[in-house]
């Protein structure tokens, strides 16, 4: 590729011919985190502690100490996150190939189905129907599941009941199929995890984690603004923090979208 094209891209971003869509929630202490039974280890919540704010602690400057778990806010899952990917090479956020951080996306709009059923699951026939309209999902693409879940209030967003969370996600067959037959680079959702709220009861449990990470692919969750993306043609930039042997990280996810 000629450097001229890269400069054209930069120019198009600057002029607005290529739109930059922010797919990221603000990283804040009150954003819901994944809920595990309390006897398990818990993700540390986001904490923001002021070091100084133009005051006696530092007269001219404002800064914070920030702590959080790797899987808080809009975040990235690396293969090492799941037992299925634990022995793969370059499976952590610090060793993954940087080129995997930029890839195109197919956006499957299931917002109507998810509005009717919080336990909606994506299936192979649904993706095949999408392909009939938009073409076959190319290799090394992200598949992003649009549910408009990110537009909900946080109680409905986490949607916890006494039998667990009820949020949409993929079923086991479609995850296996997307990974093996479509060779996607990763799967992204608006919900709190890449898997459905009830996915612990699937076989295998948590199929998105199971199949994606077992094949060295990635996960993105707590995305927003997926409604601003076309079904095909957006390019996702998702570069997690380079945490030593990190299993994931909060990150800024942006999409480049041709404005025309």
């Amino acid at each position: 590729m000629q450097s001229k094209n890269l400069l054209e891209l930069a120019g198009a971003i600057s002029s607005g011919a290529v739109r930059v869509v922010d797919l990221t929630f603000t990283l804040s202490p009150d954003f819901p985190v994944i809920v595990l039974p309390p006897e398990f280890g818990q993700a540390a919540p986001v904490r923001i502690q002021e070091i100084s704010r133009y005051d006696g602690r530092g007269p001219a400057w404002y800064w914070n100490n920030v702590t959080f778990g790797e899987h808080t806010g809009t975040h990235f899952d690396a293969p090492i996150h799941w037992f299925t990917g634990k022995d793969l090479p370059n499976n952590a956020v610090d060793t993954m190939p940087p080129k995997d951080m930029i890839a195109p996306a197919c956006v499957i709009d299931c917002s109507a189905e998810a509005a009717k059923d919080p336990d909606f699951v994506l299936t192979v026939p649904l993706v095949e129907a999408w392909e009939a309209k938009h073409g076959r999902i190319p290799e090394r693409h992200w598949v992003l599941l649009r549910t408009d879940w990110s537009k909900k209030g946080w109680r409905d967003y986490s949607n916890l009941r006494d039998d667990g969370a009820h949020t949409p996600g993929p079923n086991p067959a479609v995850m296996k199929w997307l990974v093996e037959e479509r060779r996607i680079i990763g799967f992204g959702t608006e919900t709190i995890g890449t898997d459905a709220g009830q996915a612990g009861h699937f076989e295998p449990p948590y199929p998105a984690h199971h199949f994606l990470h077992g094949a060295g692919r990635y996960g993105l969750q707590c995305l927003c603004n997926l409604d601003q993306l076309p079904a095909t043609g957006a390019v996702i930039v998702a570069s997690p923090l380079k945490i030593q042997n990190g299993s994931g990280s909060p990150l800024r996810v942006i999409a480049l979208v041709s404005a025309s």
């Binding site: 202490p29 009150d30 819901p32 809920v35 280890g41 818990q42 540390a44 919540p45 904490r47 923001i48 502690q49 002021e50 209030g153 946080w154 109680r155 967003y157 986490s158 916890l160 009941r161």
Partner: protein, 413 residues
């Protein structure tokens, strides 16, 4: 007979809020025997080990036989009011602002004669019951009340200076997700609090008792994650000027000590919730409470911590939790000193294992959350500083006082 206090009117914004002042503070070291008694709601006097005579005020030798063996022991409270006087223009700023102020001379049935602050219904020649109370400078003073109940007894002006009665006051219960928090909110409301604000962290997470809590008149659910600096500061920005009583019901119990836990993440949560949460609450709400210590009928009066009695002695089965509680106990002493200029009491309520899911496998006796709530109310009404709720807490206290080393070995089971 005294008139009931009226619900306070809204403040006149043209008037400066009256700043707290303190009654005289100096005491001899020996006199702090009374401070301890007052803190725990006991009536203790020195009693001669040789001749059995009771002595007052604090002495180094028995006034009857000059023996040096004078120990503080629980003493009979009954006496007779011999004489009373009313100070109309005292020279001390604190008392001048509160004049007229009645004091009296009480002849105790057990011997000594005591100068005491008087409840308005005490009459010359009539029997009284004596107690030691912590005044606005945190020091013990003798206080005489009528022997029996009188109408609106707790509304007495001088008595209310010594106590932290929830009546007409506004209370913040910091954690309403717990049963203790919910019981405390209900008990404080029933005790006459005007409003009980109840903090709920992570409001997106449902919790048991939520519907009932949200439906109660006079109980206002607010978002508060005490462990989050900004959340505490944001809530204080909203209601910090009208929190008269703060009940810190932070509860984060996890079993385990050191060797059978891996890493520090559970300990970090314990410190985050209990210790840093305490600091956030203190920094957010403490300054306004200290400033509002003399702000009328509904002045700020008390801060309550619910602590595990294992703050006093480590229980290895819940060893790291015990340590987090010990840290909070230490903070409470710091807070007490810092709130003292405002006359705001810091009350620690020690409990043994509470009847909640985290102590499920611990055999009884366990403390019922309702008993903790009732202790909060009675502690406030009595103006106490230290309370031990339930058999386990009381027993740990006594065993610690008798032999700390024995207790350490006994807790290692």
């Amino acid at each position: 007979m005294i008139d009931p206090i009226e619900p306070p009117r809204r403040k006149n914004p043209l008037l400066r809020t009256r700043l707290p002042t303190s009654p005289p503070r100096p005491r001899s070291r020996t006199s702090h025997g009374f401070t301890r008694a007052a803190a725990e709601g006991r009536f203790m006097l020195q009693r001669c080990e040789a001749c059995g005579a009771f002595a007052y005020p604090a002495r180094e030798a028995c006034p009857a036989c000059l023996s040096a063996g004078l120990a503080f022991v629980d003493a009979p409270r009954r006496g007779t009011l011999l004489a009373e006087t009313t100070a109309r223009v005292p020279s001390d700023v604190y008392f001048r602002e509160r004049a007229p102020w009645r004091i009296g001379l009480v002849r105790m049935d057990c011997g000594p004669t005591m100068v005491a602050h008087l409840h308005a219904d005490c009459a010359e020649g009539a029997p009284v019951l004596m107690s030691f109370q912590l005044d606005k400078s945190g020091q013990a003073v003798a206080f005489a009340r009528p022997e029996g109940e009188t109408p609106n007894m707790a509304d007495d002006r001088q008595w209310r200076e010594m106590t932290a009665d929830p009546k007409f006051r506004r209370v913040l219960v910091t954690n309403g997700r717990s049963v203790i928090g919910q019981e405390a909110a209900a008990a404080l409301k029933a005790a006459g609090a005007k409003t009980v604000f109840v903090g709920v962290a992570e409001p997106w997470r449902p919790f048991a008792g939520e519907k009932l809590l949200r439906g109660q008149e006079g109980i206002e659910v607010v978002t508060l994650d005490a462990a989050d600096e900004k959340s505490a500061a944001d809530l204080a920005a909203d209601i910090g000027g009208k929190v008269d009583i703060l009940v810190n019901t932070t509860e984060h119990v996890r079993p385990g000590g050191l060797l059978d836990r891996r890493g520090t993440s559970i300990a970090r949560d314990e410190i985050d919730q209990a210790y840093l949460g305490f600091i956030n609450l203190a920094q957010a709400f403490g300054p306004a409470m200290r400033m509002r210590g003399a702000d009328g009928i509904n002045n700020s009066v008390a801060w309550i911590n619910i602590l595990s009695v294992y703050a006093l002695a480590n229980w290895p089965a819940f060893g790291a939790y015990s340590a987090s509680q010990a840290a909070c106990l230490s903070l409470s002493q710091c807070l007490r000193a810092e709130l003292r200029p405002g006359g705001v009491k810091v009350m620690n309520l020690f409990t043994g294992p509470v009847d909640t899911e985290w102590f499920q496998t611990v055999p009884p006796p366990k403390v019922a959350p309702r008993a903790v709530a009732q202790a909060i109310v009675s502690g406030l009404r009595g103006g106490l500083e230290e309370m031990y709720v339930g058999d386990v807490a009381e027993e740990i206290r006594q065993r610690l006082a008798a032999n700390p080393k024995a207790l350490e070995r006994e807790l290692d089971r």
